[in-house]
């Protein structure tokens, strides 16, 4: 690399007046000045732009270079806490406190606490989130179709919130109008139906703010006849607008940028995997999931036991979700990420490490 540098400057000197350099520098250099200029240069130097516009912008060359840059890697790792939280969302399910009702049905009781909590959303970057039970996404609520669910919601946040569940339930259990003020409680009670992959989120106004701040989570209703037993993972695709300008700075699954790039998910060849994939990304119209070196069975919304298609990429609107099933044929490292390259490079990227 030092050699390259040396060559660069020698060329600058020797071809000071050369035609080639004139064109080349005319374009880039003068434009560069126009930009940097705004605070580097007096106007009489900046004046060169117009000359540059007239010259021919053809001399674009690709700078090969150091070869030392590890693309997509970050300069530091997140705290163990932040990673644990992402990992917990990946593999932990809240089945509630289970008991039997007199009529023989299963009753599941859950407690949810709205909390204002600062969370690490990218290594070293902290975000003042609003959370269910301290994390964004909140816990994955899981039940079986037909169970009676009783979800006690305590609002420990400084703002009014609700829990709005997707699925079938009475209007007064919808979490749209029964706003729960700070310090108050509300108990949602309804029967789990239909089976599939759903979600829950806060429905207080302004809705956009209450969702982007982190009040959401996955809600799984298993069919009465359980799906085939597999390794199960939950991935909630979300994003964070850390500077509050209405655009996301970081994209994540389960709340921490590049969590599973820094800590790859371990799989075995032939091991069957089921991913519960939920999109709650605010501001951006869609998000997506793309799997490397493989194809998956796609069950849209998980409401059917017959797969919709076999693909390697699925696009989801905000609030959409899908169940994905696959297994790896070969060992190796396989990426999974949003197929919006921008999201991928801003934190929504992970790795499966498949071993024999």
């Amino acid at each position: 690399m030092n050699k390259d540098k040396q060559n660069g400057s020698d060329e600058t000197f020797s071809s000071f007046f050369s035609r080639r350099k004139f064109l080349k520098a005319g374009i880039g250099g003068a434009l560069g000045i126009a930009g940097m200029a705004t605070w580097l240069f007096p106007k009489w130097i900046r004046g060169e732009d117009h000359m540059a516009d007239a010259s021919n912008p053809h001399d674009h060359s690709n700078h090969g270079g150091s070869g030392m840059d590890q693309v997509h890697s970050m300069n530091k790792k997140a705290s163990a806490n932040a990673y644990q939280s992402a990992q917990q969302a990946l593999t932990t399910f809240d089945y509630g406190k289970v008991s039997k009702l007199p009529d023989g049905r299963t009753l599941r009781e859950y407690t949810m606490l709205a909390q204002d909590n600062e969370i690490e959303v990218a290594p070293g970057v902290f975000y003042p989130a609003w959370t269910y039970n301290g994390t964004a996404p909140g816990p994955t609520i899981r039940a079986t179709e037909g169970d009676l669910l009783r979800i006690k919601f305590d609002n420990g946040s400084a703002h009014p919130h609700t829990i709005h569940f997707h699925g079938i339930h009475p209007g007064n259990m919808d979490g749209s109008f029964e706003i729960v003020q700070p310090g108050k409680s509300f108990t949602y009670e309804f029967t789990a139906e239909p089976f599939g992959l759903h979600l829950y989120h806060c429905h207080s106004m302004p809705l956009k703010k209450h969702i982007e701040k982190g009040l959401y989570g996955a809600f799984i209703i298993d069919p009465k006849e359980p799906r085939k037993k597999m390794k199960e993972l939950v991935m909630v695709m979300n994003a964070f607008d850390t500077d509050f300008d209405g655009e996301n700075e970081f994209y994540t699954v389960n709340g921490l940028a590049n969590a599973f790039l820094d800590h790859p998910i371990q799989l075995k060849v032939g091991e069957e995997v089921r991913i519960y994939l939920v999109n709650v990304t605010e501001f951006d119209l869609i998000n997506s999931f793309h799997l490397h070196g493989n194809m998956f069975k796609l069950y849209r919304t998980g409401t059917s036991l017959t797969h919709y298609e076999i693909t390697d990429t699925v696009m989801l609107c905000q609030g959409e979700r899908s169940v994905l099933e696959f297994s790896y044929k070969f060992p190796g490292k396989y990426m999974f990420h949003a197929h919006q390259s921008e999201f991928a490079e801003l934190g929504w990227m992970g790795l499966f490490e498949v071993t024999e």
């Binding site: 400057s9 250099g29 560069g32 930009g35 001399d59 700078h63 270079g65 530091k76 990218a122 934190g347």
Partner: protein, 393 residues
């Protein structure tokens, strides 16, 4: 009034102020809550590229400490080496980003702080900048030579011509000189104010202009009245030589500022605009030589040490341009540009007064307000205006 009482009265407000500050930070401050919102501000002093790397120098210009947590390039999280990530007020950090950049394309480097705030530096079009090697030092010296030294020396060659001029013609030439200098002074001041607007607020650009401009004006005024008081006759050789030195000093500082900007332009890889721009500056600055030599134009070189003085004068006026291109080329910061532009502006306006007084002492009346004087003054401004067209588009 006794001395001790005088001192007591003089120091009383200061002591009370100190007590108030102590009180403010030992309890009263709790009554005045500070907003719990961090006032973060990171300024990019410079963003540039070298082979395989994007580089940036940043300063914490905000009121609070900041921690740089992430670096993104064109909206992609990127590996970066940050020399110092926790920055106190006015602390600097060097960011080194391994990157395969494409020549001529724009790049946006964003720093995300621990609180999620974003600060952005831009490269409008990536171009390799030259490194500090003997070759580039030589190149910059050559540029400085063309921009500062050669035109000043060429301009000074008018001395014998000006010496032959008598009465009104000489007044005309001095008036032209004043016109040139006024143009230069106003131009410097204007550039300084534009720059002051663009640098981070914490540096107080207008304060720098006031300090640099008024400071140099007053200091040079004090020096010249001191020397005048010692020399007596304002029309003496010594007095005229002093004026010439002051003119050379003022122009020298101005050329240093000019050199800074040119050096920085070349640093950006903007070698191409060079030849044309250099010609413009040579033309523009040739008038500076005339301004330096005009006060002593009628003095004889033979039998005096004037020739040596002329060489020194030329060097004072021109050589700073070389220094400027070096500084601008290798360690540029807009703050320095502002400082030198301000000092230069103050010095030039002081010199205007010197030349004005010189002329009055020659003829014992204010001849600049005669038709010849006014014509000369306007001619000077027009000449500068026209030659400035070569360095402006």
């Amino acid at each position: 009034m006794s001395t001790s009482k005088k001192w007591f009265l003089g120091l009383l407000p200061v002591v009370l102020l100190a007590l108030m500050i102590v009180g403010l930070f030992s309890g009263i401050d709790r009554l005045i809550p500070r907003a719990n919102i961090p006032l973060e501000e990171i300024s990019f002093d410079r963003v540039w590229v070298v082979e395989g790397k994007i580089l940036a120098k940043v300063t914490n210009t905000g009121a609070d400490p900041v921690t740089i947590a992430q670096v993104t390039v064109n909206d992609a999280m990127w590996n970066a080496d940050v020399s110092k990530s926790e920055l106190g007020r006015f602390d600097q950090s060097d960011i080194t980003i391994p990157f395969h950049w494409v020549e001529g394309e724009p790049y946006v480097v964003t720093l995300v702080t621990s609180t999620g705030a974003k600060f952005t530096g831009e490269i409008a079009a990536a171009m390799e900048v030259s490194q500090a090697t003997p070759a580039t030092f030589g190149l910059y010296a050559l540029i400085g030579l063309f921009v500062g030294v050669i035109p000043v020396l060429l301009g000074m060659l008018w001395k014998p011509f000006v010496a032959k001029l008598g009465g009104k013609s000489y007044t005309f030439v001095l008036a032209v000189t004043i016109g040139l200098l006024i143009f230069l002074g106003v131009d410097s001041l204007n550039e300084a104010f534009e720059l002051a607007d663009q640098i981070p607020g914490a540096f107080q650009g207008v304060g720098i202009i006031l300090l640099g401009g008024l400071g140099s004006f007053l200091i040079l005024s004090a020096i010249s009245s001191y020397t005048e008081a010692r020399q007596g006759d304002p029309a003496s050789y010594q007095a005229k030589l002093t004026v010439a030195y002051l003119v050379a000093l003022g122009i020298g500082i101005h050329n240093l500022g000019e050199g800074l900007a040119i050096g920085a332009a070349f640093t950006l890889g903007n070698v191409a605009m060079g030849a044309f721009l250099i010609m413009g500056f040579t033309l523009h600055n040739i008038t500076e030589g005339l301004a330096i030599v005009a006060p002593v134009a009628r003095e004889k070189t033979k039998g005096s040490n004037l020739f040596i003085h002329l060489l020194i004068l030329g060097a004072m006026g021109g050589v700073p341009a070389i220094l400027g291109t070096w500084i601008g080329g290798f360690v540029y910061s807009p703050i320095w540009s502002l400082i030198f532009l301000s000092i230069g502006a103050g010095a030039i306006f002081q010199v205007v007064i010197q030349v004005f007084r010189l002329e009055r002492s020659e003829s014992n009346r204010a001849t600049f307000l005669t038709p010849v004087g006014v014509a000369g003054l306007l001619t000077g401004i027009v000449v500068m205006y026209i030659t400035a067209l070569f360095v402006t588009v």
